[in-house]
C-alpha cells in the first residue's frame, strides 16, 4: 500500500494555496548553495530549469539533442487549455478540473488535477509575457477554439504549431538564465543512471553522445523531465530519440513506475505506408472540429471516396455519439476507428484507415476559411501522402501518441526516492487513463513553471544534506555499471540490427497491448517479449565503438530498456481487470460496448517496483479517493 501521496488536507480549491504556505522556503541568499540537475529540455524541463535558475539555484540542464530547443514538445500542434473563460461559454477552473478528471476516466488524483486547472491561467499569462505569438482576433484579444473532449472553447493556439511556440518561449527563458550563468546546458548527453547517496538522489551519470565519455554530475536534487515512452511501440508519433531510458534507470534504482499500461492512441494520424516507415505523423485533432469521420457502409467497398454516395457512408461517430459527434475524446475515437476497420470497412491500400472529410466544411465556410485554420496541416498531409485533402478526404488511423503512465510522484511531484522529481509526461500524475487534447502542454508548463520551483524549495529546506561530489563511491559504481552495459552491447556482435528488434517489439505491443487488450493476448505478449529480449541480448549487432558518436549504440541501450519496460506494461495491463480510458480489456465492456470500469477494485494507481533483472516487479497501490466528483460512467452520446 502506498498512501503517502502528501496531498494536503482541506477543501480542494484551497489545497495548493495551503500547501504552498506549509512548504518551507529556502532563503534567497542560500539558494546559490544548491545545485539542481534537470534532465530534459521540453516544456517541463526547460520551464523548470529556467524558473529554478531564476530563483537562484545552480541548474545543470541536460538534453539528448544538439540544442534544448528541439525537444519533442515542439511538435505539439493543437493547443493548450486554460480555464480563462475568455469565450464566455461557461468555463471555470472547476469545469476544466472536472473535464480532465472525467476525460481520464477517474484514474487521476483529484488534488493534482485541480491544481493543474488552477495553474492553467497563469501559464497563458506567462507565455504571452514571454512573447508567444498566440492567435488573436482583430481587436487584439486572444482567440480560443474548442478541442476534442470539451464543450467549451478554452484552447489557446498558435496556428498548428502551438507546441513549437510554447517551447521556444520556455527555451528563450532558459537561454536567458544561461546568459546569467545560473543555468548550464549540457546538450547531446544521455542520462544513463541516477545516483543515490544515503537514500537521496544526488546526481546522474550521463553519456556524452559526441565523445562517448561517461560523465558524472552531482547535485542536491534531480528533476527528470524526460518525456514518455510511446516509442516502445516502435511506430508512434514521438520523435526518434524519445525514450524511456532515464525514467527506466530511475525505476531500476527503486523509483516506482505507475500505470505503465496507460498509453494514449491518437485517433488522427497519417496511416502506415510501408515496412520501412520510421515513425507516424500526427494530424492535430483540431481537424475533427470541421472534418467528418466516415467509412463506407459496406465492408470491402473499394470505390473511390468521391464515388460513394452519401447514403452509403457511415458517419459512425456522429451516429453513435450524437452530442459530441466527431469531437469525442481520443480513446473513444481511436477505438471506434479500429472497430470499423476490424469489420472490414477500413479504406485505403491497407484497409487500416478511415476518412476524415472536409467537403462539407469547405462547402459551408469556403476553402479560404478552412485553409486559414488548417492550411499547414493540409500541406503536411499532402507532402507525405501526395494527396490533396481539399479535394479528397484525408485518410487517418490511430497511432501511439502519449503515455499517461510514468514515474509515480506525490503531490510535490517527487518520486518515492527523496530528491528525485519527475515532471511532465515522465510522471503519471494528471491525466488518469486518458489525456484530453491540449492538456499535455498545460501539464508540462504547470509542473515546470509553477509546481516544481515551490516544491523543490520545500524539499531542500526540510532536508539538510551533506555535500557530495562525483568522487563518491556511488558515482563510481554507477559509472561502472553504465560502461559495462555499453561494452556488453558492443560485444554481442550478432546478426540483427537494433531496428529490426525494435520493430518486432513494437508489433507485439501494438497487437496485444494496443487499442484493445485481452488476457490471452497479454499472456502471449509477455512470453513473446521475454523471448525477444533473450534473442536481443544474444544476437544484436551494434557497430562502431563506445568512445565515439555512435547512434546505433544509443539506440541499442534504449531498445534494451524498452524491452524490459514492455514486460512491465503488459504486466500492468494484465493486472488491471477492468476497462478504463485508453485501457480497454475486451472482457470488461458495458452493454453499449463502452469500457466498463471497476471502481471498487481498480480506482487505484498501480505502481510497480523493480526487483532485479528478469524478476517479477513488486506491486504497490495508491487508492484514488474522490471527494469532490461522483464517479460516473463516461458517456459522450
Amino acid at each position: 500500500m502506498l498512501s503517502d501521496s502528501k496531498v494536503p488536507a482541506g477543501p480542494l480549491a484551497d489545497k495548493w494555496d495551503r500547501h504552498r504556505f506549509e512548504l518551507k522556503l529556502v532563503n534567497p541568499a542560500n539558494r546559490k548553495k544548491y545545485d539542481i540537475i534537470v534532465v530534459g529540455t521540453g516544456l517541463a524541463g526547460a520551464s523548470a530549469a529556467a524558473s529554478l535558475g531564476e530563483l537562484g539555484y545552480n541548474v545543470k540542464n541536460f538534453c539528448i539533442q544538439d540544442s534544448p530547443r528541439r525537444a519533442h514538445s515542439i511538435a505539439a500542434q493543437g493547443g493548450i487549455n486554460a480555464a480563462k473563460n475568455y469565450s464566455n461559454d461557461g468555463d471555470s477552473t472547476w469545469r476544466l478540473f472536472y473535464d480532465t478528471i472525467k476525460g481520464g476516466d477517474f484514474r487521476a488524483r483529484e488534488a493534482n488535477v485541480y491544481r493543474l486547472a488552477q495553474l492553467s491561467e497563469n501559464i497563458i499569462d506567462q507565455c504571452v509575457a514571454q512573447g508567444v505569438p498566440f492567435a488573436r482576433d482583430y481587436g487584439g484579444l486572444l482567440d480560443n477554439r474548442s478541442f476534442g473532449g470539451a464543450q467549451v472553447a478554452r484552447t489557446f493556439y498558435a496556428r498548428g504549431q502551438t507546441g513549437q511556440q510554447l517551447l521556444l518561449g520556455a527555451y528563450s527563458a532558459l537561454m536567458r538564465q544561461v546568459s546569467t550563468g545560473k543555468v548550464t546546458i549540457y546538450p547531446r548527453r544521455e542520462m544513463l543512471d541516477v545516483v543515490i547517496v544515503d537514500g537521496k538522489a544526488r546526481g546522474i551519470v550521463a553519456r556524452n553522445l559526441v565523445t562517448g565519455e561517461i560523465e558524472s554530475h552531482a547535485a542536491h536534487a534531480v528533476v527528470l523531465a524526460t518525456g514518455g515512452y510511446g516509442n516502445a511501440y516502435f511506430l508512434s508519433t514521438n520523435a526518434m530519440s524519445c525514450n524511456v531510458t532515464a525514467a527506466f534507470r530511475a525505476y531500476r534504482k527503486g523509483a516506482l513506475f505507475a500505470n505503465p499500461c496507460f498509453t494514449q492512441i491518437h485517433p488522427t494520424c497519417i496511416p502506415v505506408h510501408g515496412i520501412h516507415q520510421s515513425k507516424l505523423t500526427l494530424m492535430s485533432e483540431s481537424l475533427r472540429n470541421d472534418g467528418r469521420v466516415w467509412v463506407p457502409k459496406t465492408p470491402g467497398d473499394k470505390r473511390r471516396p468521391e464515388d460513394i454516395p452519401e447514403s452509403e457512408r457511415d458517419y459512425y461517430l456522429e451516429r453513435k455519439y450524437p452530442s459530441f459527434g466527431n469531437l469525442v475524446p481520443r480513446d473513444v475515437a481511436s477505438r471506434n476507428a479500429k472497430e470499423q476497420c476490424d469489420q472490414g470497412k477500413g479504406v485505403g491500400e491497407t484497409g487500416l484507415a478511415v476518412y476524415l472529410d472536409f467537403a462539407d466544411a469547405i462547402q459551408r465556410d469556403g476553402k479560404d476559411v478552412i485553409e486559414a485554420k488548417y492550411g499547414n496541416l493540409f500541406e503536411m498531409y499532402e507532402k507525405i501522402t501526395d494527396e490533396n485533402p481539399y479535394e479528397t478526404p484525408m485518410r487517418i488511423y490511430p497511432a501511439v501518441h502519449y503515455t499517461m503512465g510514468g514515474l509515480w510522484v506525490d503531490y510535490n511531484l517527487m518520486t518515492n526516492i527523496d530528491g528525485l522529481f519527475a515532471i511532465g509526461e515522465a510522471n503519471f500524475s494528471d491525466h488518469g487513463a486518458n489525456r484530453l487534447g491540449a492538456s499535455a502542454l498545460m501539464q508540462g508548463l504547470a509542473d515546470g513553471y509553477f509546481v516544481v520551483p515551490y516544491t523543490m524549495g520545500g524539499y531542500l529546506a526540510s532536508n539538510p544534506m551533506e555535500g557530495v561530489d562525483t568522487s563518491h563511491k556511488a558515482f563510481d559504481a554507477s559509472r561502472k555499471e553504465v560502461s559495462d552495459q555499453v561494452s556488453r552491447l558492443l560485444s554481442i556482435n550478432g546478426k540483427q540490427t537494433v531496428t529490426q528488434f525494435h520493430r518486432r517489439l513494437g508489433k507485439i505491443l501494438w497487437d496485444y497491448c494496443g487499442i484493445v487488450r485481452d488476457d490471452a493476448g497479454l499472456k502471449k505478449a509477455l512470453e513473446d517479449i521475454r523471448a525477444l529480449k533473450e534473442e536481443f541480448h544474444k544476437d544484436v549487432n551494434v557497430p562502431g565503438d563506445g568512445g565515439d558518436f555512435n547512434q546505433n549504440l544509443e539506440n541499442a541501450g534504449r531498445v534494451a530498456d524498452f524491452m524490459e519496460l514492455a514486460e512491465l506494461m503488459v504486466t500492468d495491463a494484465f493486472y488491471r481487470k477492468e476497462s478504463c480510458g485508453c485501457h480497454l480489456n475486451a472482457a470488461y465492456l458495458t452493454e453499449d460496448n463502452e469500457p466498463l470500469r471497476d471502481d471498487k477494485n481498480f480506482a487505484v494507481v498501480a505502481a510497480w517496483k523493480y526487483t532485479g533483472y528478469g524478476n517479477e516487479p513488486e506491486y504497490y497501490e495508491e487508492p484514488l479517493i474522490f471527494e469532490n466528483v461522483a464517479l460516473t460512467q463516461r458517456s459522450y452520446k
Binding site: 514571454q130 487584439g140 511556440q165 527563458a173 530519440s241 520501412h276
Partner: protein
Amino acid sequence: MSTKTITLTLKVWRQNRSRKKGGFEIYTARDISTDMSFLEMLDVVNEDLVLSGKEPIAFDHDCREGICGMCGAVVDGQAHGPLKETTLCQLHMRHFKNGDTVVIEPWRARAFPVVKDLVVDRSAFDKIIAAGGYISAKTGGAQDANNILVGKEVADKAFNAAACIGCGACVAACPNASAMLFVGAKISHLGLLPQGRPEAKTRVQSMIRAMDRLGFGNCSNETECEAQCPKSISIREIARMNREFVKASFS
C-alpha cells in the same frame, strides 16, 4: 498514392569525428519506395551498412515532422534538398528519379563545425539566442494575458518570424554562411510584439555582436536563405533587424 520503387546512387560525405578532413563515399540505395522520406531512405542504406559490418552514416534527425529543426543536409547543392519549404525529413523519394545520383553534404560553415559525417555542431545558434533572443519575463510576474492587446496583423507577422525552426539551412544555403535570417527572424518576432519593445535596443545590439563573434559571414542580399528556408522566412525579417539596428545605434 502510387507506390513504386527506385534505385539511387548516393555520394555521401563521411568524416570521422577525430579527423579534420573527410571525403565522399559512394553507396547504392536499392529498391527505395517512393513513399519513403529521404531520411527513411538513409535508414535503409544504414541498415544495409550495419548488416554488412560497416559503420552507418551519422545524420541528425528527431521529430521527422519538419518542426524540430534537427535534420538537414545539403542535397545536390541545396539545403534540405530540391523541394521548396520542406525539411529533409519531409522530402519524399517521389521527387527523385530511378538512377539519379544524389550528393549529400553536411551544412558547411566555419561556425558549424562537422561533428561526424552529416552531423554538425549548431550550438552557435544557442549562443546567439542566449545573447538576447528573449523577453525578460520573470516566471510568475505576468499580468493577465488579455491586458496586452496585439492586433491580429501584428500577431500574424510575429508568428511568421517565430516559425523559424533553427535548423541552420539559411547558413548552409547562404553563399557567405551568414546567419542573418535566423537572427533577423528572432529579432522580428520579439520586436514586433509590444512585450518585446522594452528590450529591443539592447537585444539587436547584443545578438548582432554575438553573431559576428561566432564567425558567421555577412549578408550580401543573395536571398538564397529565403529561397531555401523550409519555413519560408522572408528576408523582410533581415530588413527589420537592420532597421532595429540603425534605430538602436543612432538613437
